[in-house]
């Protein structure tokens, strides 16, 4: 399989993959690391597979990476609980250039979308992990039920249940806003 095809695939999924990781991990650096690890593993292990297989495989790898990051964070949290507290913001230096948005939409639409993005991402981030995964893979990434089941490592029936519950929760919370 050509590297051009792989590059096209990776560049096509990287933004959505990052958003999925970001909403799951709620940390930009961890999300970037999870996406990079997933890209590396896909290329290392599955570059020779047919391009139709890449998407579910990539999201399966990403789901595992996200789970590993969450586990590591849990362990780190247990360890840090024993240490003296420290202000996390001390670690972050504000960089106005790095924080600048990638492009400028029209002001009115931007305001609407700003609000919608804020409430939707908060609501999605607060979904139970499996519902969040099913919702993001099905709705955002556009995988079908079979591909989502493959990426999540569960049955198609479970995907449908998780997705339905996620939609119900989000609709109840955001029906008036979105």
């Amino acid at each position: 399989m050509s590297s051009r095809a792989l590059e096209q695939f990776l560049s096509g999924v990287e933004k959505r993959a990052f958003k999925i990781a970001q909403l799951s991990l709620r940390n930009d650096d961890d999300a970037l690391d999870a996406v990079q690890d997933s890209m590396m593993k896909l290329v290392q292990s599955y570059a020779s597979r047919s391009s139709e297989e890449w998407r579910p495989l990539f999201y399966r790898i990403l789901a595992n990476c996200i789970r590993d990051f969450q586990r590591r964070r849990t362990v780190r949290g247990r360890i840090m609980a024993w240490l003296p507290s420290r202000d996390a913001e001390d670690d972050e230096e504000y960089d106005p250039i790095a924080q600048a948005p990638g492009h400028e939409p029209t002001p009115a639409r931007r305001l609407e979308l700003d609000e919608a993005i804020g409430v939707l991402e908060t609501a999605v981030a607060e979904l139970p992990a499996r519902q969040k995964q099913a919702f993001l893979l099905r709705n955002f990434e556009g995988l079908d039920v079979s591909e989502t089941a493959s990426a999540m490592g569960c049955s198609e029936g479970s995907v449908k249940t998780h997705y339905f519950r996620a939609l119900e929760t989000l609709r109840a919370r955001l029906g008036e806003v979105i």
Binding site: F18, K19, V43, I117, F140
Partner: protein
């Protein structure tokens, strides 16, 4: 409006909002994603020759061991059968140890060179 239609509209709107969010990623994130993609794809560009160096120390040690065994057994080799048998065992051991590497076809060039050095 029935439930299915409501959900379809809601699903569509949430997708649009998430797409918009993804399209607004800041420059730092986009740059990091590009770097990550290039780093991943670089693995495809690495020639097999670069892996040659990974196994070079093991191969060099094997070559030195072969030379040492041959030097050590050199004085008795023409007449005695026992040292020849010992040498065969040693060579068999060395070839077994490196069989996996050779089987992968990654170091044939090195082993050919090493064999040439031993013969000369």
């Amino acid at each position: 409006m029935n439930q299915e239609t409501q959900d379809s509209g809601f699903e569509k709107r949430t997708r649009e909002v998430l797409d918009e969010s993804a399209s607004r990623l800041d420059g730092r994130t986009l740059s990091k994603l590009t770097q990550a993609r290039h780093a991943a794809l670089e693995q495809l560009q690495r020639p097999a020759r670069s892996r040659w160096w990974f196994f070079a120390p093991a191969g060099a040690a094997a070559a030195v061991a072969v030379l040492a065994v041959m030097t050590w057994t050199g004085g008795t080799r023409p007449t005695a059968t026992a040292p020849v048998a010992a040498l065969n065992e040693d060579l068999e051991f060395l070839s077994d140890a490196d069989a996996e590497i050779v089987a992968e076809g990654e170091d044939l060039e090195f082993y050919e060179w090493a064999a040439g050095e031993v013969e000369s």
